[in-house]
Amino acid sequence: MDTVIEFKNVYKQFGSTAVLDDVSFRVQKHDVFGYIGPNGAGKTTSIRLTMGLLEPTQGEVVVLGGKPDQENIRSKIGFCFDNDGLYTNLTAYENMKFFDMVYHKGEGREHRIKELLEMVNLEHVSDKTVNEFSRGMRKRLGLARALLASPEILILDEPMIGLDPEGQADIKQIIQNAKETCTIFISSHNLNDVEELCNRVAILEHRILAEGLLENILTDTQSVVRVKLKENCSIDQLAGLYKLGIGEIKLSHQEMHLVCQEQPDISAITSFLLNNKINFIEIGEVNNSLREKYFSLVRGKNDHENEMSESNRI
């Protein structure tokens, strides 16, 4: 299978801050790739690296077999950034025309612009300046602009953010249609959307916490029991849980996640907590969803880092 985007051990540092730390992943042709992570995890930096706007401090980014700053490579990428990047003093048509003149690939372009404006349901406002548009309309126009180049890769940074449910449904439909012809890279906060749209996922928090086919990531998820505690408790009080087949205990903010190697015995865990006078509000097994996987990875990492910094202080 062809690799269209590849990050090879990429480090990106701004001053003394490492935004990306040994990031490696591959996006294959015709993937709908979901790139998820918390705010400031390095998602937009990764997109800028893919677009050739930034250069890695170390490592290599390969897009369509070449360097992303090559013009012939960039001409095959359609993009829609979080801030849409449209010219607000131009009309929708003029924006499309400007970007089309850069990509221009032959005759019949007026028809293509009209067709795309119709597709995103903006043909009736094509002569209105973009500063009169709502956020959703701008997003739709940004997406139409991204498709102008008939791209091999479509890069979408937070495509659903700020949209009402109807707008989100429109964008999802456009993405569903676009995936027939191109590889799509979606950076998003919205885990449900990523789960719905993407076949491959990477979870990022400065480094890749998990990457692969969505189904593999979900089936790879170990059984996790979540316990909402009434009050804080120490990890020493919970040591006995290891005897019940619990592989790992993640404790944070009156909530604990028990990672089990086998099918968890909820009643045994409940008895243990009651016997040890650990008051809790709720106990239950966590579903195998991307959301749970994401939170177990991101929270787990943060907890681990907190523990490290605590021990450093000592």
């Binding site: 677009m51 050739g52 706007l53 930034l54 010219y87 003149m101």
Partner: protein
Amino acid sequence: MTMKMKCLKAIAYKERIAVRRNIKSLLFIIVVFGIILLATSVSKCNTFLNEGVTDLKPLLMGSVSYVSMFLSYVAFMSTLKFWQEKSMDALDSLFSLPMSIRQVLTAKVMFSVYIGLLCFVPSYMISTLVFVVAFKVFAFSAVHFLAALVISMIFQFSYGVINGFCMWQLSVGAAKVAQIFTYVIFLGGIISLNRCMTPEGIQMNVVYMLCSALVLLIVGAVYALVLTNKEKIILNHID
């Protein structure tokens, strides 16, 4: 069509729309400046006549160049808008297009130089006609015209490149200092043209200053083009 031409055409299309939307205010500014410049030039030549100068032609040729270059400068400055992409948060998308940063920078400057050129030619013709009417002297020389045109274009192009570099890549403080410095050189160079012609003849020291200003701006522009860096512009914008 080469990528350079595509880029130039696309940028010109976008900038032309912005100019077209503000054409009335642009024309108003040019007309007001034109009237002021012509009135002061006529007054200056009258002073020379009163001082006993009989051959006004060299003085008027200098004045014609000065008026045209100044008006061309006004048109150029009014259409040079590097802040636009920054204020619209469009730098990321502009630089993601298949065009190099230098192509974008030079295309934006060349469009404004073109507008300056469009203003230069009629300004030259009109001021020549005004002086014919006022002094009955036809102060036109093709060589003079071309020299003034080329100097004007080099001034504008160099200033535009430095201005773009400063606006996009430097911090606000550094950009202001660099812009004021180049602005003084640019404007000082044009204004010195007016001081160059005196009843005693051409002031060569002013001519040397003008040439120095031109060289300084060209060096600055080349330096700016060499230093232009996409990553630095993006990071500066994020900051």
